[in-house]
Symmetry: C2
Subunit: 355 residues, 2 copies
């Protein structure tokens, strides 16, 4: 189970994928994960083209092993009414005041840099490319196929998985309800995905003929062995890497994870407009209850950018987006390399257990 | 993994528990499951004491293997205001009319027969007793302990699991968000449980020192192998037995399961007042959206009893409670014995797979 078609095709030692968490991965994390035998993954969605290029080059200087670069597929644009903007900015007023930010009645522009980001991946001949939030259009998809890159897509339900296979994707992530961070639903207006990994993986495996990568709530070798038993070819883990020194998550976020996040996690649209699971905090509690008080992605993301930045600077975790999956309480104080090594040892231990 | 402390203690061949689904199990199902090597389980919560006694005797006439009898722990009583009753009966008016039922402005009495039910289990010396919805009071718990019965409790979160262990329960069911039927939350007013099985099992296993039984979304040997890898000692499966000939689920419910329930499942309080997962239908869609339109358990259960009975007689699945887990689409047209045999074969196949 440990070595299979997927590990051969991706050129990795273990069926372990370090999740491309857009707000937390660093070249150092990718290097450490790939050097240790997993697939290191750069979450490049929020990075500018030049930043992506230098990150790719930095990774290549330190490892010869394969790695993934992951982007958000381009999103549908909405035209917002004054009333919608008003309903979204009003509940943020007192939060901005608490953080010493000036009042704001408009949404900062969100620049969709997808074409430029993708061009960097093509220029740099990135060999493994992942897309979150569905897929880019046929033209862009054909470009990366022609370039010969292996493609990873994300599905939160069976119908999305079959759509990805039909589009010619090489590997499908089956992302369960347990997963931290943004759910890979295709459209911003989609309902949050509510299918648990235990039920999702076998149904996706039965529906497609390409390898499936399971994601959501996995924190150790037990979880990895479990998803291999369900028929997945690998497990993708994010939260367990969030508290590592290589992660650029906020220090208070890391500390909450390692201390055993007592308030648990919830799926919210408060920070970005798209459903994402994170540690429950005041910003979620205040915004989640206001009808129509949250703009669609990416506008809510733009609207809360200053708030999240100020909350980081001022160490106010109640206003930070602290993504985490339902396994958050199993976080461990280890480096990225130590995590991959532990996962591999634990996986072998579970697989060796006899009746 | 297949034979362990739990299988030895319960005296079963396979780490498989046929779930005690209160509205669907029959003596025939329990006999078939236990004879095939699983733990057959009678969901006796809605049965009168005499009915339970004769079912136990019927089971014992046909099998010498162990079986479980499961009850709902006694529930907190509420005093309902006229306004609450009015808000709950109003949305049912048109449904009752469609089914040819007379109008109803009051809640039929719900007789809590727990003491009498438990007395039958003690009189008949039932050796494995399970409780759903928390535990009975200390007096009743001491009675079953003194009688020497093995006790099974259900937890949907870690803190409930540790409470069960502290109370002296022998085995803990870790019930994931994926599970069909009633969530085993302790109090009727508890929020629905939202933890996926993949994240719940290892956390419960780490928190208690007694064997854990995983439940929720499991439909085949892959799921069984997965929960054993997570550290569970057995898997409990319900939905997969619902469509068997031994199940007393409604024929239209069985057909929807076998045809691949296209509308999916959702957690609702519409039928009983307690969160339970079932196939999405009109009754759920109509009632779930009405603020304060649903009474707490067991009053909503009493209020919808006639509706569910009439819907059954008149073959109107849109008003039936059709419990199902998130693996519903993996249902198979097999008998109870064939299901247990298939599960055992599949489990061995997965465990035998090599790297």
């Amino acid at each position: 189970m440990i070595r299979n078609f997927l590990t051969e095709r991706l050129g990795i030692n273990y069926p372990i994928i370090q999740s491309p968490m857009a707000s937390a991965t660093t070249p150092a994390m990718v290097i450490a994960a790939s050097e240790a035998g997993a697939l290191g993954s750069l979450g490049a969605a929020y990075m500018g083209p030049d930043e992506i290029r230098s990150a790719i080059r930095e990774i290549r200087r330190s490892t010869k092993y394969p790695f993934q670069v992951n982007l958000f597929a381009p999103q549908k644009r909405y035209s917002l009414t004054d009333d919608e903007v008003d309903r979204a900015t009003t509940p943020l007023r007192s939060i901005r005041e608490e953080l010493g930010l000036a009042d704001r009645n408009s949404v900062p522009e969100y620049k969709d840099r997808f074409s430029d980001q993708l061009q960097v991946l093509l220029d740099e001949e990135v060999s493994i490319i992942g897309f979150h939030f569905g897929l880019p259009d046929d033209d862009d998809l054909n470009k990366v196929k022609t370039a010969g890159a292996l493609l990873i897509g994300c599905a939160t339900k069976v119908s999305d998985a079959t759509a990805l296979e039909k589009a010619g994707i090489d590997f499908i992530i089956a992302q369960g309800f347990e997963a931290g961070g943004h759910q890979g639903t295709f459209r911003s207006e989609d309902e949050p995905s509510m299918i648990g990994l235990m039920a999702l993986v076998p149904q996706v495996v039965d529906a497609v003929s390409i390898p499936v990568i399971a994601a959501g709530g996995l924190m150790d070798g037990r979880g990895l062995a479990a998803v291999l038993a369900l028929g997945a070819s690998a497990g993708q883990l994010g939260t367990v890497f969030l508290s590592s020194p290589e992660s650029k998550a906020h220090e208070l976020h890391k500390r909450l994870l390692l201390d055993g996040a007592r308030d648990g996690t919830r799926v919210t649209r408060a920070f970005s407009g798209r459903p994402a699971r994170g540690l429950i905090n005041r910003m979620m509690n205040e915004l989640d209850v206001i009808p129509n008080g949250i703009l669609p992605f990416p506008y809510q993301h733009s609207l809360t950018t200053e708030i999240r930045a100020a909350a980081g600077t001022k160490n106010r975790p109640e206003f930070l987006s602290m993504w985490a999956g339902q396994g958050a309480n199993m976080s461990r104080n280890l480096s990225t390399a130590e995590i991959v090594n532990s996962l591999a040892v634990e996986l072998e231990q579970v697989l060796k257990r006899k009746n």
